[in-house]
Subunit: 273 residues, 4 copies
């Protein structure tokens, strides 16, 4: 089956690009299942229920998040009724919402999606290795799940790669988010899992992490809080990872990046043609 993952959608520019173009991508390329990381979609900070609905209406089967998940405070409430919104699975037990769930794809396949946060240089959450191990053991690939996608929201490439190898052969895709920069290390690991350290953001790449660049550049130099961080308004590059899985094993057979619009080199997966 054909999976697409899109990285952190940042602000109005990212929303416009994804909401505007995702329906066409789903139709043109017959995408079976789409996951979008939405943690920065509301002015760069969190996601509102209205934006979530727009992203889902545009074709996202699941919206994942990360450290910014609670930036919009009513997310703690509405996440309980929004099955398609995931927060990192390794928050403490008792946290509202869920970190993993089984979804039905357009082709009828059962897809397990989990969102997990790294701990290196980040908040001290529960062990991401143990948390994902539980999730995957409860819903094995090729048995309960026809495909499994893990969004690893993490800073350090070491931790992302270690999670990739830890899960290799047990899931279809391990794809990173959070750095807001796409990496060019997409590959199928020896055990059959598609891997990319970071999908990159869907945002304006003439910026700092998708935010207007002047304020962060100033702050790095002056070490004094100045104005507010606001999303950059230039055209977004839609950044994501495309994976083709084997319908029987659930493992990856093809992997390639997607980059459309904005400043970055344009690329559409060759196996989508």
């Amino acid at each position: 089956m054909r999976l697409l993952f899109l990285g952190d959608l940042v602000g109005r520019s990212g929303r416009t690009a994804v909401i505007g173009q995702l329906p066409g991508l789903v139709e043109q390329y017959r995408l079976d299942f789409v996951v979008v990381n939405g943690e920065n979609s509301a002015s760069g900070f969190g996601i509102t229920e209205a934006i979530l609905q727009d992203v889902v209406d545009a074709g996202a089967d699941v919206v994942t998040t990360g450290n910014h998940v609670w930036d919009q405070r009513d997310t703690l409430v509405y996440i309980e009724r929004q099955d398609r919104l995931l927060r990192p699975v390794n928050f403490p037990s008792g946290t509202p919402g869920r970190g993993a769930n089984l979804f039905t794809a357009r082709n009828g396949a059962q897809v397990l999606v989990a969102n997990v946060m790294g701990r290196v240089f980040m908040e001290s959450l529960d062990d991401p290795f143990a948390a994902i191990d539980n999730v995957v053991n409860d819903c094995p690939l090729g048995q309960v799940a026809d495909a499994i996608l893990i969004d690893v929201h993490a800073e350090a490439t070491s931790e992302k790669q270690a999670l990739g190898h830890f899960l290799d052969g047990r899931v279809s895709v391990v794809v990173g988010t959070h750095t807001h920069v796409p990496t060019a290390d997409h590959q199928i690991l020896p055990g059959g899992t598609a891997y990319q350290s970071d999908a990159g953001m869907c945002g304006d790449y003439d910026s700092v992490l998708g935010m207007e660049k002047d304020e962060p550049v100033q702050r790095f130099q002056r070490k004094i809080p100045g104005g507010r961080f606001t999303p950059a308004l230039g055209e977004s590059t839609i950044c994501g990872l495309a994976v083709e899985t084997d319908d029987r094993t659930g493992l990856a057979t093809q992997v390639a990046p997607l980059r459309i619009g904005g400043r970055l080199d344009q690329v559409v997966p060759h196996f989508w043609s």
Copy 2:
């Protein structure tokens, strides 16, 4: 002029690839100037004088480093006599070696190369913005220097991007290292500076940061020191950034990644043909 930068060369696999293939690349593509980050070339930790010599003999005009620069202890001594080896410029004053220098390229051009370390999630060195500002002001592009390349050895994409924008229009290239993963965000910034958040390592990409994967994967889970970290032995992907500069202004006219060998997608800059 034609510049090539290669990211962190890791262990024997990385050395074999770079030392074996760089001479051919320099000749075939008529490269004017080559910079290689060598901080992990000696079994993953630092660089010896013999390895430095081998890399220079293979065609590197300059070897940059990073947080691992002093892992081989005699580097503190031999760096004083090795003009082609740079350590981060923002070490405290009095640190052996130098962090920036002017070099003569094969085409006779004067190239300023500087190595600087970020501070986010890293050691607390001197301000990288102020340090590089001084270096560049002392040797302006298009006046003293025909080209300027900055190796930003840093963890956080935010800090790398901010340095890129800070230097945009004043240097030819800002290229990141340290994460050991190539990014796909290479572009020419609005002011004319070529930028890539990370060049990626020259190492085996079936690994954790170029090191054999079992030990780091174990350590993330068990939180107990086990065996030693040793470089992975699989074939390396040579990862780098190619930049074409305008001979008059010193600004970038072309930018593209280079990836040869190993597991990653292969790419040679189209403008090298």
Copy 3:
């Protein structure tokens, strides 16, 4: 009953002081139960089985540790047969040794001791709040345990204080370690738990954390690894916390610091007379 806790014992100087004087303290002041943090007792790094035995022979009922627990590699093996040695309870499940245990005091009372590590500015272990909550719920004060002492090995005063309040009224003592500096905030919290942010080390206070000062002072300035860190050799101050508990409730009735020898102000708990 009368409890004494001694903070991180550093190197030969700390060992000499504690092993030499603890037997006399136990006898003179009729101490019912003694806990010593031993994570730095072997040349500043970890603890050997021989040193553990010496400290136990001197009168320690339990030896706690912290981030340095595995610095002596055979600790992973011998900890399994040494019931009196605790490692932080919030290491991943499957870690050798134990993080909490019930012990019989000289007066026959049952004392629960647990060792837990903070996560702020430290290694990402399991949640210390949840881990200690489990330990204390399994062995309630005044029912299963006559007294409960928690060694919170942590950097940040915020996390230590939060753990203190979290446990207030449910344990006899929450005492911090790891900063190697005694704090003067000992008090009985509103719920009846004795609290001190850090007991301080048993080591030479003309030093940096008990280590000979020249090397660390140099390293802060030069940012270059130099010589090795070795324990300072001056006379140690034995630093600890004395707590008197109510035999019925197990809560604290008295709390005061102990400081004997070396450079710091000398103090013996007034209620020991």
Copy 4:
């Protein structure tokens, strides 16, 4: 001469205690010079010009700060006209205000006060060792300055101790702030400098860092932002360090803590009687 330093004044409770009692302390004990850290005096976050004036009117000759210095945004403006307010000296050059200054004490003596921030587990500012070295070299003890007091606003005891030893014999007092907990390691270092790792806050010690405890205790457990942090309202303990200096050399002859009011053990320096 007789110096008093008071640690981080937190919120209304801390202000009430210090502003109410400092005039009496100055008079009763004939204090020559008083420095107060005021970084948390405005509802826990920064300091307003009105509060600064109140603290100065109560007897503070100098008010130091730390990482919270800019929490009240107009501080960036009014600090330029307020000579008695210091911000950390190792902010980047060009930062408003000053980090060190020479003041005239009640006894006519010239007192140099400097405020410096550590970098371990904190913001990446300029090198605190180099910054303070410059300050002290420009204004040597026993020549230009009759006494020198350094407020080291830092998290790690290692960095504070290293700065103490680095300055030992060249300044009268090195006293730490920021952890909001008084340490019991006050001593005169071998070279004659009075040292204490942290003076402790002037705030309510039934709290987390002086803030009402429920919200931080919840946040540590739940990892979700909840309500706001507000200062605890219980009676403050005034916490500080008293130092007697030799009028000729400027070095310390006596050092002792001061703790008045609130929950902590009460102590007034014996040499004040």
